[in-house]
């Protein structure tokens, strides 16, 4: 049978990826975290934002306390008697949602702009890349802060700000690989066939720019999540009604000083686990997809 003989690229990728045990663990953790976030209602014993389910008598209970509802607060509770584990699961959901959406938007914008720059060349390319250079010379957090200062609060605003911070990375990455691909023969051939520009870009150039993009995007999701947490901590991120992990950490800050460490510590650990897991997967993807990219 010939089907089994040729290994599909995806299979080969998976096998290469699996050669690093740390990365597999990272991926497993990441999948678990994603599942927990998606099925938050099932994973969390409590809906932390349904005030009817909260018992103020249970406020600031240390980890492991048995709650009034008959189950144990394994990670303790916050000042409103909210089960911290439930709060973390729901917070994870917001964090991941913001991080992934922002990355996807930035990816779309960055790819479009980067392709345009590479394809158009000349003055258009020069102008776009200048803008990218200037933006990248300023720290992401500063740009996000200023944007949020102008835009105001809200989950959508945070997503826009994070996307605005990120797009330049993708634009630069896409332009780089598209310039390389553009000179290759198959693009010449496509041009000779007088295929429309959009088709050449989407069907021929883009797929070949994907590997570096996937790598950058993976790591950028981690950056976006960390940045969102930071912004929320500073009070310019998501609103209190939709707390992310960063928000949970921030609201626990005051209690930490009085010794109730768990309110801040556990959301922080959750954040750390997510970021490290994504970075591990991203690092491995970089090695597998393109050895030349590793530095």
């Amino acid at each position: 049978m010939s089907a089994a003989r040729e290994e599909s690229p995806l299979r080969r990728l998976a096998r290469d990826f699996a050669r690093s045990r740390v990365a597999v663990v990272g991926l497993a953790v990441l999948v678990l975290v994603m599942l927990a976030a998606v099925f938050a209602q099932l994973v969390a014993p409590q809906d932390p934002y349904d005030l009817a389910q909260l018992d103020i008598m249970d406020s600031l209970q240390p980890p492991g306390t048995a709650g009034g509802a008959g189950w144990t607060y394994w990670l303790g509770t916050d000042d409103q008697g909210r089960d911290l584990w439930s709060a973390i699961v729901f917070g994870l959901r917001t964090s991941l949602e913001v991080g992934i959406l922002a990355t996807l938007i930035a990816l779309a914008v960055g790819v479009a702009v980067g392709m345009l720059a590479a394809y158009a060349g000349g003055a258009v390319d020069g102008a776009i890349m200048r803008l990218v250079d200037i933006q990248l010379s300023f720290p992401a957090i500063l740009i996000a802060l200023i944007l949020l200062a102008l835009l105001g609060k809200g989950v959508d605003k945070v997503i826009v700000a994070l996307a605005a911070v990120q797009w330049a990375y993708y634009a630069r990455t896409v332009r780089g690989s598209a310039l390389v691909e553009r000179r290759k023969e198959y693009v010449e051939a496509a041009r000779c066939l007088a295929l429309p520009h959009s088709r050449i870009m989407l069907r021929h150039l883009l797929p070949n720019c994907l590997p570096p993009l996937i790598v950058v995007a993976t790591v950028q999701v981690a950056h976006a999540i960390a940045l969102e947490a930071t912004l929320s901590f500073l009070g310019v991120g998501v609103p209190v009604t939709e707390p992310s992990l960063g928000m949970l950490i921030a609201s626990g800050y005051g209690f930490m000083l009085s010794g109730n460490y768990w309110v801040s510590l556990f959301p922080g650990v959750a954040l750390l686990v997510v970021i490290v897991a994504i970075n591990l997967v991203g690092d491995r993807l970089r090695d597998v997809l393109n050895p030349r990219l590793s530095h």
Partner: protein, 325 residues
């Protein structure tokens, strides 16, 4: 050398001009300048008066000219909250931020270069692996959370160091500094470590990568063949070569450290301009935000310029051009 400086100065001027246009566009085109420049608490009459005074009824190019004129003159509006010129307010907080940023950079360099050298010279040793794992963690940990953990460990649990504020300061050149007093220094330690964590990881990686590359060069072997001591081979021949990328990146990162001090200052209640920025954003004190932004842009440009100059001093190939100078 003079030509080089002049050329760099011109480039810097271009970047400042570009940023002025961007900031102007940000306030006047994307945002509503009335929101930015006039206090939300002002009534209709005050608003109308302010609009006329600020020339917001004028055409765009006239407004831009006015904006540039007043910005050059140092007038970036008056703080709604504090009722004093915004620029003065930001400048007043600047030394605290600078002190914190420099202390963090110093820590990052003083620890990062030796650790990176070590990890680069002995990449397969236990110490080398531990150093690299630590630097990966340092990259992943969010700054604000590290800061909180530092407070929890060293201020709350152990009680060794203060949790926030600048502590006692002493005057030097008419500016108050924390590092001149014992108390101030104690207050500086935790925030500086916090702010340094990320850059420390970066320095370690740069120094390690540089060391691994340089250590294989023939000139290092030649230096050893001359009978030089390992201290001189590592401390002069290798170090001087890895300093070039480290200094370049670090110089450029000084700007990012100043920006990131927003986070550290908020965690440690350090009264720098980053904390002021957050307060101003939360209180909608927009003239202060604009003043901070323009000042930071200027700072970035100056830093880039200085870095280029230092870089050229470190690398004779750039300082002296291709041939004989």
């Amino acid at each position: 050398m003079i030509v080089f400086i002049l050329r760099r100065l011109t480039q810097s001027a271009v970047v400042i001009a570009a940023m002025a246009v961007l900031v102007f566009t940000g306030i006047f085109a994307i945002g509503n300048p009335i929101d930015v420049l006039i206090s939300p608490e002002a009534d209709e009459v005050e608003r109308a008066a302010a609009i006329a005074r600020l020339g917001l009824d004028q055409p765009m190019h006239v407004q831009f000219a006015r904006f540039v004129e007043s910005a050059v003159g140092g007038d970036l509006g008056t703080s709604f909250v504090h009722g004093v010129p915004a620029l003065g307010l930001v400048l007043q907080r600047f030394p605290a931020t600078l002190e914190l940023a420099l202390a963090a950079m110093l820590l990052a360099v003083l620890l990062g270069i030796p650790l990176g050298l070590w990890a680069g010279l002995k990449p397969d040793s236990v110490a080398g692996r531990v150093i690299m794992t630590g630097s990966i963690l340092g990259f992943s940990l969010p700054t604000f959370w590290v800061g909180m953990m530092l407070i929890m460990a060293f201020a709350v649990q152990l009680g060794w160091l203060p949790a926030g504020g600048r502590g006692q300061t002493a005057s030097l050149f008419g500016i108050q500094w924390s590092f001149l007093t014992r108390d101030g220094l104690a207050h500086l330690i935790l925030p500086a470590i916090n702010l340094a964590t990320f850059k420390l990881s970066l320095v370690i990686r740069l120094a390690r990568a540089g060391t691994r590359e340089v250590a294989l060069q023939d000139y290092v072997k030649f230096a050893r063949a001359k009978g030089l001591s390992p201290a001189r081979v590592v401390g002069v021949h290798i170090l001087k070569n890895i300093m070039i990328p480290v200094v370049t990146v670090l110089g450029l990162e000084l700007g990012s450290v100043i920006a990131f001090s927003v986070v550290t200052e908020s965690v440690f209640a350090w009264p720098g301009m980053g904390k002021l920025l957050i307060e101003s954003i939360l209180q909608l004190d927009r003239p202060v935000v604009v003043a901070y932004l323009l000042l930071t842009v200027l700072l970035f440009v100056v830093i880039n310029l200085v870095v280029d100059l230092i870089y050229s001093m470190l690398d004779p190939r750039i300082r002296l051009g291709g041939g004989r100078a």
